[in-house]
Assembly symmetry: C2
Homo-oligomer: 305 residues x 2
């Protein structure tokens, strides 16, 4: 059972080693993570960007730069297009953001000729290992889709179930979250959560078990779920996927967890032909490495699909 990031990393090392293509790689924090990913046998890297800058940073990191293919492209937009093309063409398995703004990076992801579009809406998944919670939690969407409609939420669930499967979690339990665990017509979020549950029961959302609306305690805390009465519920504090009402709820929980609980996490953009790693400046080193590991298992799973 995959319950921790170490389990996920064991899973990675059982597969063929994947390659990450980095857009505008002259970024110290990103290169540090790429170096660690290589050393831990999680992934190789192709570095696209300003070669002089890349070499300069690599030397300060004691990084053996001869282990990496470097493609010298000074212009950032061009570097991103070149880096994403490598993934598009199968020369690399996943795509990672370096020293480039998110907007330009995402434009390259969505580029019609060399990008990674898959005719699906893109969504973001953040995978958490939390001390005291006995499984990995897949939070979505805490960073990308702002105000998902019901239809978007179906796409988010489908995208996230693929990530769960790639991580070895079959038929994940999906909790559409709200402040309360009962439908209240004055809270549209709860109505949509019930609708998603019904769609799952009717076979319109497959490969997972949806049960909502659920409050956070009923989703992640078996004791709270049992105390409050779990009768007739399919999720009893054992959710795998936490589906948030909107980006504010998701992002606030995500950052509260990172800054107050004992966690490990990694995150990925999904809905694309290949995994896209879009870590932010504020993500720490281990989060970046974990994200590359997550990208590797997802790339392996897509290869076998």
């Amino acid at each position: 059972m995959v319950k921790k990031f170490d389990d996920l990393i064991s899973k990675v090392t059982e597969c063929s080693v994947k390659t990450v293509s980095v857009a505008v790689a002259q970024d110290e924090a990103v290169l540090e993570a790429v170096k660690a990913a290589k050393e831990r046998n999680i992934a190789n890297a192709i570095l696209v960007g300003d070669e002089d800058e890349i070499r300069k940073i690599a030397s300060t990191l004691n990084m053996n730069i001869d282990d990496y293919k470097i493609i010298d492209v000074k212009d950032k937009t061009e570097a991103a297009l070149k880096a994403v093309e490598l993934v598009h063409n199968g020369e690399a398995d996943m795509y990672m953001k370096g020293l480039i703004d998110t907007k330009t990076f995402l434009k390259s992801v969505l580029d019609k000729e060399v990008g990674l579009r898959n005719n699906k809406p893109l969504s973001h998944v953040c995978v958490f290992e939390i001390e005291g919670v006995d499984k990995l939690l897949f939070l979505t969407d805490v960073a990308f889709m702002t105000y998902p409609t019901l239809e978007d939420k179906v796409s988010i669930i489908n995208n996230t179930v693929e990530i769960c499967n790639a991580c070895g979690i079959e038929n994940p339990k999906v909790a559409p979250l709200a402040a309360v665990e009962v439908v209240n017509p004055k809270m549209p979020v709860t109505v949509e959560a019930a609708e998603l549950t019904k769609m799952n029961e009717e076979g319109k959302i497959t490969g997972c078990i949806v049960d909502g609306p659920l409050s956070m305690d009923l989703a992640i805390c078996p004791e709270a779920a049992k105390e409050k009465g779990a009768e007739g519920r399919k999720i009893v504090g054992d959710a795998d996927v936490l589906l948030f009402p909107d980006i504010h709820a998701g992002n606030l929980v995500y950052k509260a967890l990172v800054h107050t609980a004992k966690v490990k996490n990694g995150n990925i953009i999904t809905g694309t032909k290949a995994p896209v790693i879009l870590t932010s400046r504020s993500d720490d080193f281990e989060t970046k490495v974990n994200s590359i590991a997550l990208g590797s298992v997802v790339a392996e799973s897509l290869k076998n699909a």
Copy 2:
């Protein structure tokens, strides 16, 4: 400086001992908290409800029932009205929910004759001590107001500033939270957060420092705030009040904290003439005692106002 619940409890014991009036007091968990509050010199209690039941539970808790005034009212609605009237008349200082549904309890709070209406909107404040955060955090509204308008948010801020002051925190820093720390017209929450900030600068919201929109990390983590660039910001990871976009965001963060971080918390309904304690079944023993302590300092502050 009041930075922890222990500081708050020291503050309580410096005041005259307050009395809590309990509606439908035949509730084991509530009586246990009331007993501890008495033993720790935090508050006395008047128990309104089914006297036989109250005595039965008290004996199983080794509670010296002669220390308490009991008023025997079997009917729950009547018991609540009687209990709230005691606060209304000044015979007790705060009002607490026992074995009665929230709706009936709140009806008694809002009763025109014997209730605690104050011509202000009611809101909920949850006070947290979190390991790793160097001050008490006042979360609002995580349980009562569902989708506050801009006007409601002004009331919530005013209500919460009163609670901060009662706890010894003058001129608190209020962070209207969002997924991002910049105004984005596509995210109405961020526009409202900026509007609240402007109202504060123009003197329309007073007694506090408002700075939003803020993401969670910039609100509660000084290191993150400094890293991301805190220039021109009035809050640099040192917020006192976390103002949530809506009940879903607030409640999901609240329960995530309770179930994953090391916390102590207590909560209270405010906007009323006297503090109202509405703990839920899922709140643990210490949370109920902390809520009574919080009620005591707020009652003391209202007395001196």
